[in-house]
Protein backbone atom coordinates (compact mmCIF):
# COMPACT_ATOMS: atom_id res chain seq x y z
CA UNK A 1 0.00 0.00 0.00
CA UNK A 2 1.64 3.24 -1.14
CA UNK A 3 0.18 5.29 1.73
CA UNK A 4 1.43 2.90 4.34
CA UNK A 5 4.91 2.88 2.79
CA UNK A 6 4.84 6.67 2.72
CA UNK A 7 3.84 6.91 6.38
CA UNK A 8 6.47 4.40 7.48
CA UNK A 9 9.21 6.17 5.54
CA UNK A 10 8.11 9.59 6.76
CA UNK A 11 8.23 8.40 10.37
CA UNK A 12 11.79 7.18 9.93
CA UNK A 13 13.15 10.24 8.10
CA UNK A 14 14.72 11.92 11.18
CA UNK A 15 16.79 8.84 11.95
CA UNK A 16 17.62 8.32 8.31
CA UNK A 17 18.98 11.87 8.25
CA UNK A 18 21.15 11.22 11.32
CA UNK A 19 22.37 7.85 10.02
CA UNK A 20 20.77 5.91 12.88
CA UNK A 21 18.73 3.32 10.96
CA UNK A 22 19.56 -0.33 10.53
CA UNK A 23 19.84 -1.83 7.07
CA UNK A 24 16.18 -2.92 6.81
CA UNK A 25 14.80 0.50 7.79
CA UNK A 26 17.32 2.26 5.55
CA UNK A 27 16.29 0.19 2.55
CA UNK A 28 12.63 0.93 3.26
CA UNK A 29 13.29 4.68 3.37
CA UNK A 30 15.56 4.77 0.32
CA UNK A 31 13.12 2.74 -1.78
CA UNK A 32 10.39 5.22 -0.93
CA UNK A 33 12.55 8.31 -1.39
CA UNK A 34 13.36 7.24 -4.94
CA UNK A 35 9.71 7.76 -5.89
CA UNK A 36 8.48 10.49 -3.52
CA UNK A 37 9.52 14.07 -4.17
CA UNK A 38 7.64 15.25 -1.09
CA UNK A 39 9.69 13.05 1.23
CA UNK A 40 12.91 14.12 -0.49
CA UNK A 41 11.97 17.71 0.27
CA UNK A 42 11.26 16.77 3.88
CA UNK A 43 14.63 15.07 4.10
CA UNK A 44 16.32 18.32 3.08
CA UNK A 45 14.39 20.10 5.82
CA UNK A 46 15.46 17.46 8.33
CA UNK A 47 19.10 18.07 7.50
CA UNK A 48 18.69 21.82 7.78
CA UNK A 49 17.10 21.37 11.19
CA UNK A 50 19.87 19.08 12.41
CA UNK A 51 22.45 21.68 11.40
CA UNK A 52 20.51 24.34 13.32
CA UNK A 53 20.39 22.16 16.42
CA UNK A 54 24.16 22.11 16.56
CA UNK A 55 24.12 25.88 17.14
CA UNK A 56 21.56 25.92 19.92
CA UNK A 57 22.91 25.28 23.36
CA UNK A 58 21.89 26.25 26.88
CA UNK A 59 24.48 27.88 29.08
CA UNK A 60 24.77 25.67 32.13
CA UNK A 61 27.36 25.93 34.85
CA UNK A 62 30.21 23.42 34.76
CA UNK A 63 29.89 22.19 38.30
CA UNK A 64 32.61 19.54 38.61
CA UNK A 65 34.03 21.18 41.73
CA UNK A 66 30.58 21.13 43.30
CA UNK A 67 30.02 17.48 42.46
CA UNK A 68 33.49 16.44 43.63
CA UNK A 69 32.89 18.16 46.98
CA UNK A 70 29.65 16.26 47.30
CA UNK A 71 31.40 12.94 46.65
CA UNK A 72 34.18 13.74 49.10
CA UNK A 73 31.76 14.91 51.74
CA UNK A 74 29.80 11.72 51.36
CA UNK A 75 32.95 9.63 51.63
CA UNK A 76 34.04 11.53 54.73
CA UNK A 77 30.61 11.11 56.28
CA UNK A 78 30.76 7.36 55.66
CA UNK A 79 34.19 6.92 57.13
CA UNK A 80 33.88 9.26 60.08
CA UNK A 81 30.49 9.92 61.57
CA UNK A 82 28.51 7.52 59.44
CA UNK A 83 25.83 8.40 56.95
CA UNK A 84 23.57 10.30 59.32
CA UNK A 85 24.81 13.74 58.32
CA UNK A 86 25.34 12.98 54.64
CA UNK A 87 21.77 13.74 53.66
CA UNK A 88 21.90 17.06 55.48
CA UNK A 89 25.19 17.98 53.83
CA UNK A 90 23.79 16.93 50.47
CA UNK A 91 20.89 19.30 51.06
CA UNK A 92 23.29 22.13 51.89
CA UNK A 93 25.22 21.65 48.67
CA UNK A 94 22.23 21.59 46.36
CA UNK A 95 21.99 24.60 44.07
CA UNK A 96 18.52 25.36 45.39
CA UNK A 97 20.05 26.30 48.75
CA UNK A 98 23.18 27.85 47.36
CA UNK A 99 22.64 30.88 49.55
CA UNK A 100 23.26 28.70 52.56
CA UNK A 101 26.55 27.59 51.06
CA UNK A 102 27.47 31.22 50.55
CA UNK A 103 26.70 31.85 54.20
CA UNK A 104 28.99 28.96 55.10
CA UNK A 105 31.86 30.55 53.19
CA UNK A 106 31.11 33.86 54.89
CA UNK A 107 31.27 32.15 58.27
CA UNK A 108 34.56 30.51 57.33
CA UNK A 109 36.05 33.86 56.38
CA UNK A 110 34.76 35.45 59.59
CA UNK A 111 36.17 32.60 61.66
CA UNK A 112 39.52 32.97 59.93
CA UNK A 113 39.55 36.69 60.62
CA UNK A 114 38.87 36.03 64.31
CA UNK A 115 41.57 33.37 64.34
CA UNK A 116 43.95 35.79 62.71
CA UNK A 117 43.25 38.56 65.23
CA UNK A 118 43.59 36.26 68.24
CA UNK A 119 46.64 34.33 67.05
CA UNK A 120 48.79 37.21 65.92
CA UNK A 121 51.85 37.36 68.19
CA UNK A 122 52.34 40.40 70.43
CA UNK A 123 56.04 40.50 69.70
CA UNK A 124 57.94 41.08 66.52
CA UNK A 125 61.33 39.65 65.69
CA UNK A 126 64.02 42.10 64.68
CA UNK A 127 64.40 42.40 60.94
CA UNK A 128 61.01 40.85 60.17
CA UNK A 129 58.51 43.38 58.84
CA UNK A 130 55.09 43.07 60.44
CA UNK A 131 53.34 43.04 57.07
CA UNK A 132 55.01 39.74 56.25
CA UNK A 133 53.25 38.07 59.20
CA UNK A 134 49.75 39.53 58.71
CA UNK A 135 47.38 37.18 56.95
CA UNK A 136 45.11 38.86 54.45
CA UNK A 137 43.92 35.90 52.38
CA UNK A 138 42.35 32.54 53.24
CA UNK A 139 42.60 29.55 50.91
CA UNK A 140 41.36 25.98 50.81
CA UNK A 141 43.01 23.29 48.74
CA UNK A 142 41.57 20.14 47.25
CA UNK A 143 41.87 17.33 49.82
CA UNK A 144 44.05 15.28 47.50
CA UNK A 145 46.50 18.14 46.90
CA UNK A 146 50.11 17.34 47.77
CA UNK A 147 52.54 19.48 49.65
CA UNK A 148 54.30 20.29 46.36
CA UNK A 149 50.99 21.59 44.96
CA UNK A 150 50.61 23.93 47.93
CA UNK A 151 54.15 25.21 47.53
CA UNK A 152 53.60 25.72 43.81
CA UNK A 153 50.43 27.73 44.41
CA UNK A 154 52.25 29.96 46.91
CA UNK A 155 55.20 30.54 44.60
CA UNK A 156 53.07 31.39 41.57
CA UNK A 157 50.86 33.80 43.49
CA UNK A 158 53.71 35.37 45.50
CA UNK A 159 51.93 34.50 48.75
CA UNK A 160 53.58 33.43 51.98
CA UNK A 161 52.10 31.02 54.50
CA UNK A 162 51.03 32.60 57.78
CA UNK A 163 49.01 29.87 59.45
CA UNK A 164 46.92 26.77 59.13
CA UNK A 165 45.53 24.36 58.56
CA UNK A 166 42.51 25.61 60.48
CA UNK A 167 39.79 23.29 61.76
CA UNK A 168 38.18 23.67 58.33
CA UNK A 169 41.43 22.72 56.56
CA UNK A 170 41.95 26.31 55.39
CA UNK A 171 45.29 28.16 55.28
CA UNK A 172 46.03 31.79 56.07
CA UNK A 173 48.29 33.57 53.63
CA UNK A 174 49.86 36.95 53.27
CA UNK A 175 50.10 38.60 49.89
CA UNK A 176 51.56 42.08 49.29
CA UNK A 177 48.80 44.67 49.31
CA UNK A 178 49.74 46.09 45.93
CA UNK A 179 49.45 42.73 44.19
CA UNK A 180 46.55 41.29 46.13
CA UNK A 181 44.13 41.17 43.20
CA UNK A 182 46.52 39.42 40.86
CA UNK A 183 47.57 37.01 43.63
CA UNK A 184 43.92 36.16 44.30
CA UNK A 185 43.34 35.66 40.58
CA UNK A 186 46.31 33.29 40.35
CA UNK A 187 45.19 31.33 43.38
CA UNK A 188 41.64 31.02 42.04
CA UNK A 189 42.98 29.86 38.68
CA UNK A 190 44.92 27.08 40.38
CA UNK A 191 43.03 23.79 39.99
CA UNK A 192 44.17 22.67 43.44
CA UNK A 193 42.53 25.68 45.10
CA UNK A 194 38.84 25.46 45.95
CA UNK A 195 38.54 28.76 47.82
CA UNK A 196 40.61 31.98 47.85
CA UNK A 197 39.13 34.99 49.61
CA UNK A 198 40.54 38.21 51.09
CA UNK A 199 39.97 38.56 54.83
CA UNK A 200 41.07 42.15 55.26
CA UNK A 201 38.15 43.79 53.49
CA UNK A 202 37.86 44.98 49.90
CA UNK A 203 40.93 46.19 48.07
CA UNK A 204 41.57 49.88 48.44
Amino acid sequence: MPNEAHNQAEELLPWYATGQLDQADRTLVETHLATCARCRSKLSAERLLIDEFQLVSPEIDGGWVRLRSRIEDRQRARFSIGGALAGFWHLLTRPAVATLATAQIGFLILAAAVLQSTSRPNYQAHGVPEAAAAANVIVKFRPESREADLRGALEVSGASLVGGPTAADAYLLHVPADSRQSALAKLRADTNVTLAQPIDGPAS
Partner: protein, 199 residues
Protein backbone atom coordinates in the same frame (compact mmCIF):
# COMPACT_ATOMS: atom_id res chain seq x y z
CA UNK B 1 18.88 9.50 -9.02
CA UNK B 2 20.66 9.40 -5.72
CA UNK B 3 18.54 10.03 -2.68
CA UNK B 4 21.13 9.39 -0.05
CA UNK B 5 23.54 12.18 0.72
CA UNK B 6 25.66 12.24 3.83
CA UNK B 7 23.93 11.57 7.12
CA UNK B 8 24.25 14.45 9.53
CA UNK B 9 26.46 13.81 12.53
CA UNK B 10 24.69 15.25 15.55
CA UNK B 11 26.26 16.58 18.74
CA UNK B 12 29.33 17.86 16.91
CA UNK B 13 29.80 20.52 19.60
CA UNK B 14 29.81 18.12 22.51
CA UNK B 15 33.05 16.66 23.83
CA UNK B 16 33.05 12.97 23.05
CA UNK B 17 35.19 9.98 23.55
CA UNK B 18 35.37 6.66 21.81
CA UNK B 19 33.34 3.73 23.11
CA UNK B 20 36.56 2.01 24.07
CA UNK B 21 37.72 4.97 26.10
CA UNK B 22 34.35 5.19 27.86
CA UNK B 23 34.43 1.50 28.71
CA UNK B 24 37.87 1.97 30.23
CA UNK B 25 36.67 4.99 32.19
CA UNK B 26 33.63 3.24 33.64
CA UNK B 27 35.81 0.29 34.60
CA UNK B 28 38.09 2.64 36.52
CA UNK B 29 35.08 4.40 38.05
CA UNK B 30 33.95 1.02 39.37
CA UNK B 31 37.29 0.95 41.17
CA UNK B 32 36.46 4.34 42.76
CA UNK B 33 38.94 6.28 40.60
CA UNK B 34 37.87 9.90 41.06
CA UNK B 35 40.08 11.18 38.21
CA UNK B 36 38.44 8.75 35.79
CA UNK B 37 35.07 9.90 37.05
CA UNK B 38 36.06 13.52 36.43
CA UNK B 39 36.90 12.64 32.82
CA UNK B 40 33.59 10.86 32.42
CA UNK B 41 31.82 13.85 33.96
CA UNK B 42 33.49 16.26 31.54
CA UNK B 43 32.40 14.10 28.60
CA UNK B 44 28.78 13.89 29.70
CA UNK B 45 28.18 17.20 31.48
CA UNK B 46 27.55 19.27 28.31
CA UNK B 47 25.34 16.62 26.77
CA UNK B 48 23.35 16.05 29.96
CA UNK B 49 23.03 19.77 30.64
CA UNK B 50 21.47 20.31 27.27
CA UNK B 51 19.25 17.24 27.55
CA UNK B 52 18.05 18.22 31.03
CA UNK B 53 17.50 21.85 30.11
CA UNK B 54 15.08 20.64 27.47
CA UNK B 55 13.24 18.62 30.06
CA UNK B 56 13.13 20.81 33.16
CA UNK B 57 13.84 24.27 31.69
CA UNK B 58 15.22 25.74 34.91
CA UNK B 59 18.98 26.25 35.00
CA UNK B 60 19.14 25.72 38.77
CA UNK B 61 17.13 22.51 38.53
CA UNK B 62 19.35 21.34 35.67
CA UNK B 63 22.41 21.60 37.91
CA UNK B 64 20.68 19.72 40.69
CA UNK B 65 19.42 16.89 38.47
CA UNK B 66 22.74 16.66 36.65
CA UNK B 67 24.59 16.33 39.95
CA UNK B 68 22.09 13.74 41.19
CA UNK B 69 22.47 11.78 37.95
CA UNK B 70 26.25 11.70 38.09
CA UNK B 71 26.15 10.79 41.79
CA UNK B 72 24.08 7.73 40.83
CA UNK B 73 26.65 6.90 38.14
CA UNK B 74 29.44 7.20 40.72
CA UNK B 75 27.60 5.20 43.36
CA UNK B 76 26.24 2.44 41.12
CA UNK B 77 28.87 2.11 38.39
CA UNK B 78 29.26 -1.50 39.52
CA UNK B 79 25.69 -2.17 38.37
CA UNK B 80 26.45 -1.21 34.76
CA UNK B 81 26.95 -4.51 32.95
CA UNK B 82 27.47 -3.20 29.44
CA UNK B 83 24.29 -4.76 28.03
CA UNK B 84 23.35 -1.31 26.71
CA UNK B 85 25.56 1.60 25.67
CA UNK B 86 26.98 3.61 28.55
CA UNK B 87 25.30 6.73 27.16
CA UNK B 88 21.91 4.98 27.18
CA UNK B 89 22.38 3.98 30.81
CA UNK B 90 23.43 7.47 31.89
CA UNK B 91 20.72 9.24 29.92
CA UNK B 92 18.04 6.90 31.28
CA UNK B 93 19.14 7.76 34.83
CA UNK B 94 19.01 11.46 33.95
CA UNK B 95 15.58 11.08 32.41
CA UNK B 96 14.15 9.40 35.51
CA UNK B 97 15.73 12.02 37.78
CA UNK B 98 14.36 14.83 35.62
CA UNK B 99 10.84 13.42 35.64
CA UNK B 100 10.95 13.20 39.44
CA UNK B 101 12.35 16.72 39.71
CA UNK B 102 9.62 18.08 37.47
CA UNK B 103 7.01 16.44 39.69
CA UNK B 104 8.30 18.53 42.59
CA UNK B 105 7.56 21.70 40.63
CA UNK B 106 3.89 21.34 39.81
CA UNK B 107 3.34 24.92 38.73
CA UNK B 108 3.61 25.65 35.00
CA UNK B 109 7.24 25.80 34.04
CA UNK B 110 8.46 29.18 32.94
CA UNK B 111 9.58 28.63 29.40
CA UNK B 112 13.05 30.04 29.05
CA UNK B 113 14.48 30.04 25.56
CA UNK B 114 17.76 28.40 24.84
CA UNK B 115 20.76 30.62 25.06
CA UNK B 116 21.97 30.72 21.52
CA UNK B 117 25.51 30.04 20.49
CA UNK B 118 25.94 31.52 17.05
CA UNK B 119 27.21 32.11 14.43
CA UNK B 120 29.53 31.70 11.61
CA UNK B 121 28.40 33.56 8.58
CA UNK B 122 29.49 37.12 7.90
CA UNK B 123 27.16 37.68 4.91
CA UNK B 124 24.42 40.05 6.22
CA UNK B 125 21.45 38.69 4.22
CA UNK B 126 22.33 35.11 4.84
CA UNK B 127 23.05 35.83 8.47
CA UNK B 128 19.69 37.52 8.93
CA UNK B 129 17.90 34.60 7.32
CA UNK B 130 19.89 32.19 9.42
CA UNK B 131 19.13 34.15 12.57
CA UNK B 132 15.41 34.17 11.80
CA UNK B 133 15.43 30.42 11.37
CA UNK B 134 17.46 30.04 14.52
CA UNK B 135 15.05 32.22 16.55
CA UNK B 136 12.07 30.39 15.13
CA UNK B 137 13.57 27.06 16.14
CA UNK B 138 14.22 28.22 19.70
CA UNK B 139 10.73 29.61 20.04
CA UNK B 140 9.11 26.54 18.48
CA UNK B 141 10.99 24.11 20.70
CA UNK B 142 9.81 25.93 23.82
CA UNK B 143 6.20 25.31 22.73
CA UNK B 144 6.59 21.54 22.57
CA UNK B 145 5.77 19.26 25.49
CA UNK B 146 8.69 17.91 27.53
CA UNK B 147 8.32 14.44 26.01
CA UNK B 148 8.33 15.85 22.48
CA UNK B 149 11.32 18.08 23.21
CA UNK B 150 13.16 15.10 24.65
CA UNK B 151 12.63 12.93 21.58
CA UNK B 152 13.58 15.75 19.21
CA UNK B 153 16.73 16.62 21.16
CA UNK B 154 17.87 13.01 21.59
CA UNK B 155 17.40 12.48 17.86
CA UNK B 156 18.76 15.65 16.33
CA UNK B 157 21.46 16.64 18.81
CA UNK B 158 22.48 13.48 20.62
CA UNK B 159 22.22 11.27 17.56
CA UNK B 160 20.29 8.45 19.18
CA UNK B 161 18.24 5.94 17.22
CA UNK B 162 14.59 5.36 18.07
CA UNK B 163 15.33 2.10 19.90
CA UNK B 164 17.90 3.76 22.14
CA UNK B 165 15.50 6.63 22.86
CA UNK B 166 12.82 4.11 23.79
CA UNK B 167 15.26 2.58 26.26
CA UNK B 168 16.14 5.97 27.76
CA UNK B 169 12.48 6.98 28.11
CA UNK B 170 11.36 3.47 29.07
CA UNK B 171 8.58 3.38 26.48
CA UNK B 172 7.75 1.37 23.32
CA UNK B 173 9.57 2.24 20.10
CA UNK B 174 6.26 3.06 18.44
CA UNK B 175 5.68 5.69 21.10
CA UNK B 176 9.01 7.28 20.21
CA UNK B 177 8.12 7.32 16.52
CA UNK B 178 4.69 8.78 17.25
CA UNK B 179 6.12 11.46 19.54
CA UNK B 180 8.67 12.42 16.92
CA UNK B 181 6.03 12.51 14.22
CA UNK B 182 3.81 14.85 16.23
CA UNK B 183 6.73 16.94 17.44
CA UNK B 184 7.78 17.58 13.84
CA UNK B 185 4.20 18.48 12.96
CA UNK B 186 4.09 20.99 15.80
CA UNK B 187 7.46 22.40 14.85
CA UNK B 188 6.16 22.82 11.32
CA UNK B 189 3.09 24.72 12.55
CA UNK B 190 5.14 26.91 14.88
CA UNK B 191 7.79 27.62 12.29
CA UNK B 192 5.48 28.19 9.36
CA UNK B 193 6.95 30.91 7.18
CA UNK B 194 10.44 30.42 8.55
CA UNK B 195 11.15 27.18 6.86
CA UNK B 196 9.64 26.71 3.46
CA UNK B 197 8.34 23.23 2.66
CA UNK B 198 9.18 22.03 6.15
CA UNK B 199 7.55 18.62 6.39
Amino acid sequence: MSVQGAARRPHSNAPRSSGLEESELIERVRGRDLHAFERLYRIYQPRLARFLFNLVQRPQLVEEVLDDTMMVVWETAGNFRGTSKLSTWIFSIAYRKAIKARARWPEPVHEEPFDARVSLDPAPDEQLQHQQLHDALISSMSKLSADHRTVVDLTYFHGMGYREIAEVMNCPVDTVKTRMFHARRRLRDAMSGSMADWI
